[in-house]
């Protein structure tokens, strides 16, 4: 890189007393005193979160009340800090969803490890794991940070869905969904 010579101007008499600089700074402070405050008084006032805010991940159910997760373990694989642990299991034969075959027997997210990146939501082929608006996760010991399946479903709620891809075709004929 070339050498750039910086010219330093000599300060004038007034500037050497530093009084104009002090006055200028105080003037800026005074101006801001009468501006609108952006401080949010948390926790009484909460921030307005955008619609796709990446908070804590949760598991969701579909409009039929079925748990959407099929324990494919893609979220576990893509999770950068390895916060998710899934134990797949089989769906019992008698259940109306036995044609789906797989559901998680255990699903744990360690919130102490989760970095709220949202890669699990991107990777999920069933749109079963969704990051919602909770951003403040606390606990008294490390064990309490591990959230189990029931907890995650409870926090998740229902995801609206108009495709319902696992519904059997025989049911679809009545609901006139059509193939295209």
């Amino acid at each position: 890189m070339a050498i750039v010579v910086v010219e330093r101007k000599k300060l004038s008499f007034w500037e050497r007393t530093y009084l104009p600089q002090i006055a200028g700074g105080l003037w800026i402070t005074l101006k801001n005193l009468f501006r609108k405050k952006v401080t949010l008084e948390y926790p009484e006032q909460r921030p307005a979160l955008p619609a796709r805010y990446r908070g804590a991940p949760t598991l969701v159910k579909d409009p039929d009340g079925r748990e959407k997760c099929v324990s494919c373990q893609l979220c576990e694989f893509v999770c950068p800090p390895k916060a998710i642990r899934v134990s797949p299991g089989a769906i019992a034969e008698g259940s109306p969803y036995s044609h789906i075959e797989k559901a998680p027997a255990k699903f744990e997210i360690n919130m102490a490890r989760c970095i709220f990146c949202g890669l699990c939501q991107e990777a999920c082929p069933e749109s079963a794991i969704v990051l919602q608006k909770e951003f403040s996760v606390n606990g008294f010991d490390r064990k309490s940070f591990i959230r189990g399946k029931a907890d995650l479903y409870e926090k998740g709620g229902v995801l609206p869905d108009n495709v319902m891809k696992w519904r059997k075709a025989s049911l679809n004929a009545e609901k006139s969904k059509g193939g295209r």
Binding site: S71, C72, G89, A90, H99, I100, G179
Partner: protein, 555 residues
């Protein structure tokens, strides 16, 4: 070596052995040709049409037979107007193979598209995800988006076959017919077959579903998609989480090469590893579940002295005391140990002046991959010098010697002596030091019982029935408190006057035994497929194994 043939693949000239088909030749040149129905150990079917490539041969003038030349003087290559299947075409001199032309790419896209038309959207719930060839090829060579908007065909799913060991899902089948050919050629009878036709063509089992065959589960490895999956592994773990360890099945002296799949110190399944000299790509079903000993209830987990559990350090020192207490000492060696441990045991036996006994475990030879000798390393006992003749199936000799008062101390390895001719009273006549993996009556009666690592918890070498030296690696760590026998043996040897390095690592052990024994290769290097060692010194011994795959079949 067979003659080499010069061919040209994708513009790159290379020389490959004659008699290969184009898929194998391309693999040698580093080019992957996708295929479903071709399998190197089964007959060629040519039905999937995914391996279509553009093949050209040197052009010859029809009348005179002279080669036709290009304007610039090089040999003109006449490409066939239609694509040819590479699994069914053998290489010939001067052949040109093109796998990246637009015609070939369009063919692959088309074939994959047709296969995916009726394929169910099962990837998240299918066990084969991660190792599914259809997934790989669709990603690499497929179209990307589906143009099919009609309804898909429904076929039977979740059908247990082979006595419940395999789950069949007919919707996922890509009709490659590998399972049909395997059962017909290797097992010898028709178990799978196609029924119906057209788009309703599905795979099914005939009346006898193969539950009685000990090799039926090889179709699970052969199936390129998730149509046939192992029921014991169903929904257990995804392949991308697991690491693969090269091992050798300890079921019999066939020495079948296996892959052991491990995640975080747990073994999830065992699949065969291809070795064209030993087991092709097959293994027996019974050897797939050998890993259950690692965590079974029978496992000996704590050392015991006089029946009371104790710390390993104390148990070892008591064991050394017992072994040194009386010079009338015997050693019962085991053919299930790896070669390194057998050599250490031989060294101990010679230093202690011990008489060596061994036991043979015989079963029925099934003519394929389960031999009559149900131990993996009987020949290691001969090579290490522990025994000179083929051992009897019991320890009656040892029992007799103990009762006569000639033996007062026994170091017994991995053999349940009480089921081999010894009785409780013998344990009072002689002091037993038992080193084993499983708990047994012998372990409870022995003065000192030492828990050692199983064959999945240490690396080692086995010599199989072909006298082939094969190595296997450590898959999981032994449970806490369990020691490797090599460490224990070194302590015993040092107690008798030597000064070997404590806790030797496997490389040092192998270098040492290769120096001690000239027929072993230097450092016990086995290479890819194992190395056959000189067995002329043991030619007079009558081994029980009979003709089998790659053994005595003039192969």
């Amino acid at each position: 070596m067979s003659d080499l043939v010069n061919i040209n693949i994708d513009g790159k000239p290379c020389a490959v052995p004659a008699g290969l088909n184009v898929i194998e030749a391309a693999k040698l040149a580093g080019v992957e040709i996708p295929h479903f129905c071709y399998h190197p150990n089964l007959q060629v079917a040519g039905s999937c049409r995914l391996c279509l490539v553009s093949i050209g041969t040197p052009a010859r003038d029809r009348a005179t037979g002279e080669p036709v030349l290009n304007p610039d003087g090089t040999q003109k290559i006449a490409f066939m107007p239609m694509l040819a299947i590479s699994c069914g075409t053998k290489v010939s001199e001067g052949m040109h193979v093109v796998t990246n032309s637009p015609q070939v790419k369009a063919a692959r896209e088309g074939v994959l598209e047709f296969l995916l038309l009726n394929h169910p959207l099962d990837c998240p719930i299918c066990d084969k995800a991660g190792e599914c060839k259809l997934q790989e090829y669709s990603e690499n060579f497929g179209r990307g988006r589906s143009r099919y908007v009609e309804e898909k065909n429904a076929k039977p799913k979740k059908v247990p076959v082979a006595g419940g060991r395999i789950m069949l899902d007919a919707e996922r089948c890509v009709l490659c017919s590998r399972c049909i050919r395997f059962c017909r050629e290797i097992i010898g009878r028709d178990i799978f077959g196609f029924i119906r036709r057209g788009s309703k063509n599905e795979i099914s089992v005939y009346g006898d579903d193969g539950g009685d065959s000990n090799y039926i589960m090889n179709v699970v490895d052969g199936c390129p998609v998730g149509a046939l999956t192992e029921a014991a592994f169903r929904f257990k773990m995804r392949p991308w989480f697991m690491r693969v360890v090269n091992c050798v099945a300890p079921e019999s002296s066939a020495g079948v090469n296996t892959n052991v799949w491990v995640r975080e110190n747990t073994i999830y399944r065992i699949t065969p590893r291809a070795n064209p000299f030993v087991n092709d790509s097959w293994t027996s079903d019974s050897s797939r579940y050998e890993y259950k000993i690692v965590n079974s209830d029978l496992r000996l987990r704590r050392m015991r002295v006089d029946g009371a559990p104790c710390e390993p350090g104390y148990a070892l020192s008591r064991a050394v005391d017992v072994l040194k207490s009386d010079p009338r000492i015997a050693v019962v060696a085991s053919a299930r140990q790896p070669l390194e441990e057998q050599f250490l045991l031989a060294e101990f036996a010679s230093m202690a002046g011990a008489k060596v006994y061994a036991v043979s475990h015989l079963g029925e030879d099934d003519g394929f991959l389960v031999s009559a000798d149900r131990t993996p390393n009987m020949r290691g006992l001969f090579v290490s010098g522990l025994i000179k003749e083929y051992p009897k199936p019991d320890l009656s000799d040892l029992a007799a010697e103990i009762r006569m008062g000639n033996i007062k101390t026994v170091l017994c390895l991995c053999e349940d002596a009480t089921s081999l001719g010894l009785e409780e009273k013998d344990f009072k006549l002689a002091n037993f030091v038992y080193c084993g993996v499983n708990d047994s009556l012998t372990a409870r009666l022995a003065k000192v019982a030492l828990a050692i690592s199983s064959n999945f918890e240490h690396a080692g070498l086995f010599i199989n029935r072909q006298f082939r030296l094969q190595k296997f690696d450590k898959a999981v760590c032994a449970p806490k408190g369990v020691l490797d026998f090599s460490a224990i043996a070194v302590k015993f040897i040092n107690a008798f006057g030597a000064s070997l390095a404590e806790n030797p690592d496997i490389g040092q052990l192998r270098m040492r035994i290769s120096e001690m024994c000239p027929i072993l290769p230097k450092g016990c290097e086995t290479g890819e497929g194992g190395v056959v060692i000189d067995s002329s010194a043991f030619a007079s011994i009558k081994f029980p194994e009979t003709k089998s795959l790659h053994f005595l079949d003039n192969e």
